[in-house]
Symmetry: C2
Subunit: 332 residues, 2 copies
Amino acid sequence: MSALPLTAQDVRAAAASLHGVAMATPALTSVALREATGYRVFCKTESLQLSGSFKFRGAYHHASSLPEDQLARGVIGASSGNHAHALALAARLLGIPATVVIPDDAPAVKVEGINALGARIVTYQRRDQDRDALVNELAQERGLSVIPSANSLHVMAGAGTAALELLTGHPDIATLVVPLGGGGLAAGSAVIAHDLHPGIRVIGVEPLTGADTQLSLRAGRRVRLPAVPVTIADGLGHTTPAELPWQVNSQLLDEVVTVTDDEIREAMVFAFRHLKIVAEPSGAVALAAVLSGRIPPPHDTTGLVISGGGVDLARFQTLAAPFPEQRSHAHA
Amino acid sequence: MSALPLTAQDVRAAAASLHGVAMATPALTSVALREATGYRVFCKTESLQLSGSFKFRGAYHHASSLPEDQLARGVIGASSGNHAHALALAARLLGIPATVVIPDDAPAVKVEGINALGARIVTYQRRDQDRDALVNELAQERGLSVIPSANSLHVMAGAGTAALELLTGHPDIATLVVPLGGGGLAAGSAVIAHDLHPGIRVIGVEPLTGADTQLSLRAGRRVRLPAVPVTIADGLGHTTPAELPWQVNSQLLDEVVTVTDDEIREAMVFAFRHLKIVAEPSGAVALAAVLSGRIPPPHDTTGLVISGGGVDLARFQTLAAPFPEQRSHAHA
C-alpha cells in the first residue's frame, strides 16, 4: 500500500474547524428500513446539512484554511450544483466573495439557493464546455482561489467528518456505504472509518451508467468513460475519478457497487415515506444500494450517507411517479 | 392563576425516561427561512422522531410509567394516526400488546406503519362513531390501559421534552410556536418554556376551521365546535380542547393564531424545498403561521415545532400541486 495523501488526523482537524459551524446531522433509522433489509441501518442525513448537502463541510473547511489575504480576494468553484451552493454559503459565512460555475441545466432549487447567497453564477454547457478550464481562467483573471469539489485534501477531510460523526455515534457500524461521485466523500469516509474501526468495510455506490470508479478499480488504473453518463443522479455523472480521491479510494474501498435509476427513484420514495426526508437522486444511491440488495453479505449493522436533498419538487414528482404507492418496502 | 396540573419537573422526568429511547431531533434553520421571515427561526423536526411524530414521546413515557402488571396486559389508544403509530411503536419496544383505534380514512402510510409494528387495529367512522366510548369499552373488556393522545399528565410531559431540547439548544429563542390539536404538545411546551425562560412567548397554531382552543380562550371556557372541522390538517381537527391541556393552555398560552389550508400547503412545500423534510399538514401549521406573517411582533428569535411527517406521497403531491414552483419564499 502506498502512502495515502489523507490521514485521519486531517479529518479530525476538519471536524475541529467545522465545530459549531456545520450541523451535526442526525443518523435516522426506522422499523421500515429494518424490515426492508433485515438488518440495522443508520442513515446519516447530510441532506439536512447547511446548503442541503455534505459539500458544505469540505467547501467551508478548505476556504477557511486559506491564508487571510488569499481568502479576502474570494473563492471560485464548479459543480453540478451542491458544491457550488455549499461554496456560496461558506463564502457568505466567511464574508468573502464567491464565484460558482454550474451547468445551465442545474436544478432551479440549487440555482435559487446560490443566488440568494449573493454568489456570482457563471453557467456552462455540461456536454460541450471544459468546466475546469473555465474555472482556472476565471480564477487567474480575478485572483480567486479555486476550491475543488473533490480533488482537495481539505475538501476530502471536510467530507470525512460526516462519517466521523456517524461512526462515533454508532460504533457498532461494521459496513459503511457512501455515494461515489468525484470520490471526495468516499475518500474522507474511508480514511476516518479505517482509523476508527480497522476491520470496517467501506463500500462506494455509483450509478450504473456512471461507474467510472468501479471500472477504474477493475482496470487497476483511472479509466475515463467515453461520454458524460446519462443518469438521474446528476451529481455523480463523472467520467473519471478525481486524482487525490482515487489515491485513497483505490486502496481503501472494499468494493464499489452500482444502482439503476429505477432503484434510485425507489429509494427517494422510501426516504420520503419512511424517513420523512427529501433525498435528491445522487443523494439516495447508498440507500438504493442497501434497499435493492446490492450490498454483499455479511449484513451486519450498516451506516450509509444520504448526501444531499437538492431536488425540485416538480422533478421529484416526475421521478417518483412510477412509485406513488410502492409497497415492496412499504412496511412501516 | 390556579395551580397547573403539570410542572416543569414532570417534563424533566419525562426527558429522563425518554433518554436514549426517543430521538433528540435536530433544530433546522436555513437562509431561505431567514429571508422569508426576516428573523431567525429554528424548526424542531419532530417529523423525524421515531414513529414519525412527537407523539412517540408522550406515548412511550406514559406506557413505561404504568405499573408492571398493568403494563403487561397491554395498552390501547385512539388517534387520527400519529398517536396510534407512536403507541404501537412504544408497545413494541416495551414488549407488550397494543390496540389502536383509528379513523377508517387514516393515511395509508400511518396504517402500514402501525400494521408493521404488530399492533391490533380497530377502525371507526370519524363523523359517526364515538371514539372514546369505543376505546373505553375495549379497554374494560380486555383489561387494557388507556393511553390518551393528549389528556394525560405523562403524555403532556413527554410532549414537552421536544421544547425542552429545543430551548436548551437555543436559549435565545424568545417566541415558541407550536401546533395545537388536543393541546398536549402546547401544554407540555408552555410549562417547560416558562420554567426555562419566564419571559418567553408561547403561541399555539390551529387550522382556521378548527379553532376550538382560540374560541375557547376568547370565551373564557371550553367551547365545542358544532361539527368536526373540515381541514387538510387531519391531526388537528378537534371539536373541543382536551381537559388537562386546557387547564395549562388557558393560563400559559400567550396567543392562539390560525392558518388556512392554503397556508399549510405552502408551508409543506417550503419544508420540502428548503428544509428537505416531509411535513404532514398538521405538522406544518406552526411553520405556516411563521411564513404567512400570522405571528404578531416582536419578531425576535423564534422556535417552532414541525410535529409530524405522516403524509402519503400521492396525497402530498395533490396538496402541493398548486404550489409546484412557488417562488414567494423560494430564495435559498
